[in-house]
């Protein structure tokens, strides 16, 4: 099981360590640093590293490495999932998961880690249980605490800890009872040079924000549940109901949580909302090249495409770029060679384009590879797969809640090869 945890920042300082069994010396991290050096890029550090006596399993999140030390055969996914859960909890408690936030709240962090894992076994990882045990810091509370001497550690057993629904505590009370659902779909796609779709799928999630009193029992049904054939559920969902009736039936956790995530992959269901016309060329034996891209709407279901950003990792030999956008603004970082074009909205009358000259290092051979374009966009009020919520019913409680559903489609890993 998980033996120890080290938190390491980007400059390679170990700024926190926690041991759940015997103490493991910091020097074990040297193997990690070695791998990090070899990988050059922080994102390329392999997640599982073996050392003579331990295994190091790490994740990279928010510019921090969470490095766990294990000594026996443990499912690595278990460890990785747990580490992500730790990062999520920090995010949840401190609003951000950063070195500063962790250092500012080091005692709470330590209490949390102790509560989340016992002897390497996960103990309490549900946010609502943790929050009953250890109260999140707020300015008000710390002021009150320092005056009254009360503590931010709960002294009773959390109610959810042992019930069959560990995700919900008893006695929740709201004056305004609300239930909101966000259907968020991300399009992952690879588009080849000619504009044909090499690969496309939709990664969808339904995030919920439930503020309902008591023990509400909810049923969420869809107009077209057949779309969902590859689904991962929050533990609260009754699987049998879904299997037989295609209805999501559940007693919700309190607050924000991810209800389901799903994948729609059959190619014909995945509409590609934008197209890109591009011409990027480098001349042989010259220190210049041409760059010209235009973006236009395609299959956008009549909605506006907004928040468009194009990011391009230019080849190393590019020194500078001299471009003119018809819309939005661009930046080119000559150190990282990243070109970012913040486009904004597409108006079909006048398609946004960005063209101009590329200055290359003189004397260097012309780049072999053409860069891929990474595109971000957002379409409000649309789930590109066509998924639609039919209705939400509540049982078990008498009051009438406010209900709402929002749809949004975004680009996920949306790449255009040139």
């Amino acid at each position: 099981m998980i033996h120890s945890l080290f938190l390491i920042n980007c400059s390679g300082d170990i700024f926190l360590e926690k041991h759940w069994k015997s103490v493991v010396s910091q020097s074990v991290c040297d193997y990690f640093f070695e791998a990090q050096e070899k990988a050059a890029d922080v994102e390329n550090v392999p997640p599982v590293i073996s050392t003579p006596h331990h295994y190091l399993i790490s994740i990279y999140r928010d510019k921090l490495f969470f490095v766990s030390v294990i000594q026996t055969e443990v499912p690595p996914l278990f460890v990785i999932e747990f580490l992500h859960r730790v990062a999520d909890t920090f995010q949840d408690y401190f609003g951000e998961c950063s070195e500063a936030a962790i250092k500012d709240n080091v005692v709470i962090v330590y209490e949390l880690l102790e509560e989340m894992l016992d002897n390497g076994f996960p103990l309490a990882t549900e946010s609502n249980i943790l929050k009953e045990l250890i109260k999140p810091p707020t300015i008000l509370r710390s002021v009150v605490n320092s005056i009254t001497g009360s503590s931010n550690v709960g002294d009773t057993l959390p109610t959810g800890q042992l019930s069959n629904i560990p995700w919900r505590r008893a006695g929740v009370k709201y004056t305004n009872n609300e239930a909101y659902f966000d259907v968020v779909e991300e399009i992952d796609a690879i588009i080849d040079k000619s504009g044909a779709t090499v690969f496309a799928e939709i990664q969808g999630v339904i995030d919920a924000c439930i503020k309902l009193s008591g023990m509400p029992d909810l049923s969420l049904s869809f107009m077209n549940p057949r779309l969902l054939d590859d689904v991962s559920f929050h533990p609260c969902i009754r699987f049998k109901r879904w299997e037989s009736e295609r209805v999501l039936s559940f007693i919700p956790p309190d607050g924000n949580f991810r209800l389901i995530s799903y994948r729609v992959s059959s190619q014909n269901l995945v509409a590609i909302p934008v197209y890109v016309k591009h011409s990027i060329s480098f001349k042989e034996n010259s220190s210049a090249g041409r760059f010209d891209i235009t973006i236009g709407p395609k299959q956008n279901m009549g909605k506006t495409i907004e928040g468009i950003t194009v990011t391009v990792h230019m080849p190393k030999v590019v020194l500078n770029m001299n471009l003119t956008p018809t819309q939005g603004s661009y930046t080119f970082d000559p150190v990282t060679k990243v070109l970012t074009w913040d486009v904004g909205k597409i108006t079909p009358q006048k398609l946004p384009s960005l063209k101009g000259l590329v200055n290359l290092q003189s004397g260097a051979p012309k780049p072999e590879e053409n860069p891929s374009l990474n595109i971000q966009f957002r379409i409000q009020q649309l789930a590109i797969s066509g998924l639609k919520v039919n209705r939400l019913d509540m049982y078990g409680e008498k009051y009438k809640p406010f209900k709402g559903v929002k749809y949004v489609t975004k680009a996920g890993k949306f790449q255009v090869r040139t």
Binding site: E43, P47, E81, F233, P235
Partner: protein, 949 residues
């Protein structure tokens, strides 16, 4: 207002200051001080000097303060064991507290204080807590047993905590069950032999019920535990699968993968005809694909596991090729894994897409990835024959880019393509030669040299090209040197007139100016071959090479089966069984897939097959390229000396034996890559076979062959035994034996007349028998047999007689008639007389067949007291037509992979494990796999007979 204030230090000295604060009367000040201490601890600062002061703060009603003190205690108790005792009283008291949170906290913390003295005091509170009325306390106590076991295993056993823990598996609360399972699993890991998790249908049922209700982490523990269970039949397996499948939709990827493990394992027991089997296959694909949309670290682990799953059951993901396409901003470790799986899934149906992708990748920035992509194109060409042409043209396009490492990599793979499809794509050689100068990596240079040497007759300036390499001969790596030597000798044999000087130059460089013994030895061999018998040299150096296969990177079936049992674990990430790398090597028990339940497809599956025998228990190795060497040696052996084909087994063996040692050293340091062995293939051609039995004297100093060739071929012949005693047959005594020689079987009979009258009119007949043995000619006794006379007759047999299954299988009932009467007797023939000469299976076929034959058809035997090494075993067996296909060394044991074929076309595959060198290990382990498992036992008997004589 933040905790960062705890890090600030003062001039006076931190420890001093803290000490004062800890002993302050003010509660608030105390708490702040403890927080400061903890803050120092988190960054690894040593604050152990404050131990007594901190422990003094322990007796408090403030839960936060208590928790903080506990945190401190856990870290430092080990360094101050005597002080730690001070804390014991408080713990014991807290274990009686009315608040379950405090009871649990106390028992939890006590377990974390890894001090022997404390453990004694822990027992009583722990016993109480294990039976506590509050499930939260029970579940915490369950974990505490595991902690205590880690500190003092004996104590835990003596106190009977293990039994209490086992009882908790039946607890009413699912969280308690999950933690009990987790604790037991951890304890069991350090005691592989103890039967702690005694799984039976009742306990399984309890686990399955708890599975639905416990937390995600608990589900992982329970699923991992379920995977260790072997259901008693396919119906039980199916019902467990049905209850596990909902876990595939869980949001936690570790739960999903553990569920996949259970399903993959139990699926093995389900019949393929079952509808449910198909349903299950379909259900497995979506969750696996979903794992690929998670964070990159999760993707990596998932991909390593998918790599195993597609090898075991390619049908699951065969339509999902596209999800493995690489995105340019994937981390490199994800990219490389995806590429690997793409090649495994490549088939005729999707090859066009795959190639287009690979070509795209070959222009990316990351050098490692580009190289692997180019290699992948070569592997596709070898795997999917229809695509070879397209692959070659893609590779040529890539060579045109002139990007140095792309060109080099392309040349290496094109060489492999030449090996796979000879005489098909040689037109591209000209293009390759243009890039000769840009090659600077040994592997690429060696590949190019191999191509030039191999196709010297088609390259006009081959001599110039090779000469250009020769200039810097001593600066080249060994790989290139060896290759250059062979290539120039090839060139000389093809164009002897112009290249005499060149070959002399290289031979003298290799033999006189080199310090490398391998190079020298090879140089000498060539030199002497060329000087004594150029014809033989030609046969040796230019011998036809076996085709290479794409299967070399597959994981060996038995290892794969074992790894499938470890899906989701570190073993699955490293693709090694845990026994080879888990710290301490605590003798982790090998896991194996359950045998498939008997179904309609195996109607002939008999009672004799030891169905319960756990198959594939041994760890096996990933086939390394070097193993091809075995193939080369065996396959390359030339045509037989004389006589009917297929009859020269012992001659062949002689050659292998004698060449074996020398060639091993020649090839010993060849680097990895099929290429390595390709180069050295020529010398393996059977020198003795081609030279004929009388070896030319010039070679005899190199190859002491005379003894090897001298012996007559044929399999082992048992001494004659009396089959029919005289008193049972009115004075006729028959003894005999069976022989197999040069492809024909005969029954050698000795007839003795012990009666007082002359015997005439002999005739013989066989009853129908299992393999259709029948006399091929009448029994010829030319003269009447007078009293006390003995005659020896060899009766030729064939196997075209009528067939009836006998019990035992090798029973033969014979009737002999003479002028006096008809006599009956029955005898058992050794099975090896039925092993045919063409029983050598192709290596790929072997792998495929081994995989294909269901595990319950595997039978395992021990051959005791057989102090032979692998060479001796293999030569002994080969003379009786048991052919060694590959040999490898695993953990100091030699493993021989052998095949044989019976006259009725039944193939038997064998895996023989030998522990060489140690006289105390003289037992061989034999695993046999055969579609008709009833023969296994008799094959084993044959093995034993052959090896012990």
């Amino acid at each position: 207002m933040t905790d960062s204030k705890y890090f600030t230090t003062t001039k006076k000295g931190e420890i001093f200051e803290l000490k004062a604060e800890l002993n302050s009367d003010k509660k608030e000040k105390k708490k702040e001080a403890v927080k400061k201490v903890i803050a120092s601890m988190t960054v690894g600062k040593d604050v152990s000097a404050l131990f007594p002061d901190v422990v003094n703060c322990m007796q408090t009603d403030n839960l936060e303060l208590k928790k903080l003190v506990y945190l401190y205690l856990m870290n430092y108790a080990k360094s101050q064991p005597d002080m730690a005792i001070m804390a014991v009283n408080t713990f014991v008291k807290d274990c009686e507290d009315p608040n379950p949170l405090i009871r649990a906290l106390a028992v939890r913390t006590m377990g974390c204080i890894r001090v022997d003295k404390i453990t004694e005091y822990l027992c009583e509170p722990l016993r109480k807590c294990l039976k506590d009325e509050d499930p939260y306390v029970r579940k915490t106590a369950a974990v505490c047993v595991a902690k205590l076991h880690d500190i003092n295993a004996q104590l835990v056993e003596d106190q009977g905590f293990l039994d209490t823990l086992k009882d908790l598996i039946s607890d009413s609360n699912p969280m308690v069950v999950a933690n009990a399972v987790a604790a037991l699993s951890e304890i069991a890991e350090s005691h592989p032999s103890s039967n702690l998790l005694d799984l039976n249908p009742q306990s399984i049922n309890k686990l399955l019920t708890a599975l639905n209700e416990c937390t995600e982490w608990g589900q992982i523990f329970i699923l991992d535990c379920l995977a260790n269970y072997t259901p008693k039949d396919d119906r039980e397996a199916q019902s467990i699968c049905e209850r596990v499948t909902p876990r595939l939709s869980h949001a936690n990827s570790a739960v999903v993968l553990s569920a996949v493990k259970v399903l993959m394992k139990f699926m093995e027991m389900l019949s393929k005809d079952l509808d449910y089997y198909g349903t299950l296959l379909k259900k497995l694909a979506p969750p696996l694909v979903t794992l690929l949309s998670a964070e990159p670290e999760l993707q990596y682990v998932a991909l390593r596991n998918i790599n195993l799953i597609v090898q075991k059951r390619p049908e699951i993901l065969k339509h999902e090729m596209k999800v493995f396409f690489v995105k340019y901003n994937d981390p490199i470790y994800v990219k490389l894994e995806k590429l690997d799986i793409m090649i495994r899934l490549a088939s005729q149906a999707n090859i066009a897409q795959v190639l287009a992708e690979l070509k795209e990748y070959a222009t990316e920035v990351d050098v490692d990835f580009v190289r692997k992509a180019v290699r992948a194109i070569g592997r596709c060409a070898i795997k999917v024959e229809q695509s070879a042409e397209r692959c070659v043209s893609t590779l040529l396009d890539l060579i045109q880019t002139k990007v140095n490492y792309v060109v080099q990599e392309a040349i290496v793979v094109i060489k492999d393509i030449f090996r796979k499809y000879p005489n098909k794509y040689e037109s591209v050689i000209a293009t390759l030669c243009e890039n000769l100068d840009s090659l600077d990596e040994p592997e690429a240079r060696a590949a190019m040299i191999w191509i030039v040497g191999e196709y010297a007759e088609r390259i006009d300036n081959a001599d110039e090209l090779l000469e250009s390499f020769l200039e810097g001969f001593h600066d080249e790596s060994t790989q290139v040197q060896l290759q250059l030597l062979t290539a120039i000798v090839k060139l000389f044999l093809k164009k002897p007139t112009e290249t005499q000087e060149l070959v002399q130059q290289v031979l003298s460089l290799a033999t006189q100016d080199s310090d490398n013994p391998d190079l020298r030895d090879r140089g000498y061999i060539y030199w002497r071959l060329l000087s004594t018998d150029p014809v033989a040299a030609k046969e040796v150096v230019l011998a036809e090479k076996p085709l290479i296969s794409e299967e070399t990177d597959l994981i060996e079936p038995t290892l794969l089966d074992e790894l499938i049992c470890y899906i989701g674990t570190l073993a699955s990430v490293y693709h090694k069984p845990p026994s080879t790398f888990v710290e301490g090597g605590r003798g982790v028990a090998h896991k194996s897939l359950p045998p498939r339940a008997a179904s309609s497809e195996s109607t002939e599956s008999p009672e004799t097959a030891p169905a319960g025998a756990p198959p594939g228990e041994q760890p096996d190795v990933i086939p390394t390229q070097g193993d091809l060497l075995g193939d080369l040696l065996n396959l390359d052996l030339g045509p037989p000396v004389s006589g009917p084909p297929l009859a020269t087994s012992s001659v062949q063996m002689g050659a292998v034996d004698l060449l074996g040692g020398g060639l091993d050293s020649l090839m010993g340091d060849e680097p990895e890559g099929i290429g390595g062995t390709n180069f050295v293939a020529p010398p393996a051609a059977a020198v003795p076979a081609n030279l004929g039995a009388p070896i030319s004297s010039g070679l005899s100093d190199l190859f002491d062959l005379t003894s090897g060739v001298g012996t007559l071929s044929g399999s082992y012949v048992a001494p004659k035994a009396v089959w029919l005693p005289a008193m049972k047959a009115k004075g006729l005594e028959i003894s005999g034996t069976f022989t197999r020689q040069v492809g024909s079987i005969s029954m050698d009979l000795q007839l003795t007349n012990k009666a007082l009258q002359v015997m005439t009119d002999f005739a013989i007949q066989f009853n129908r028998n299992s393999f259709g043995l029948a006399p091929a000619a009448p029994l010829q006794v030319h003269a009447p047999l007078s009293p006390n006379q003995t005659v020896e007759i060899s009766l030729p047999l064939n196997t075209v007689g009528s067939v009836m299954k006998m019990e035992p299988l090798n029973n033969l009932q014979v009737a002999v008639k003479n002028n006096i009467d008809v006599f009956y007797f029955s005898t058992l023939y050794p099975l090896h007389i039925l092993f045919v000469e063409d029983g050598k299976m192709d290596r790929q076929m072997f792998l495929a067949t081994w995989k294909d034959i269901p595990n319950e058809n595997e039978a395992q035997f021990q051959i005791r007291d057989c102090p032979l090494n692998a060479e001796a075993v293999s030569s002994k067996l080969q003379s009786s037509n048991i052919f060694t296909i590959a040999k490898r060394n695993v953990e100091g044991q030699d493993m021989l992979y052998q095949s044989l074929k019976l006259t009725n076309g039944i193939w038997v595959l064998a895996e023989l494990r030998i522990q060489p060198g140690s006289p105390s290990f003289t037992d061989l382990e034999l695993s046999l796999k055969c579609r008709a498992p009833e023969v296994s036992q008799y094959v084993y008997q044959a093995y034993e007979t052959l090896l012990k004589n």
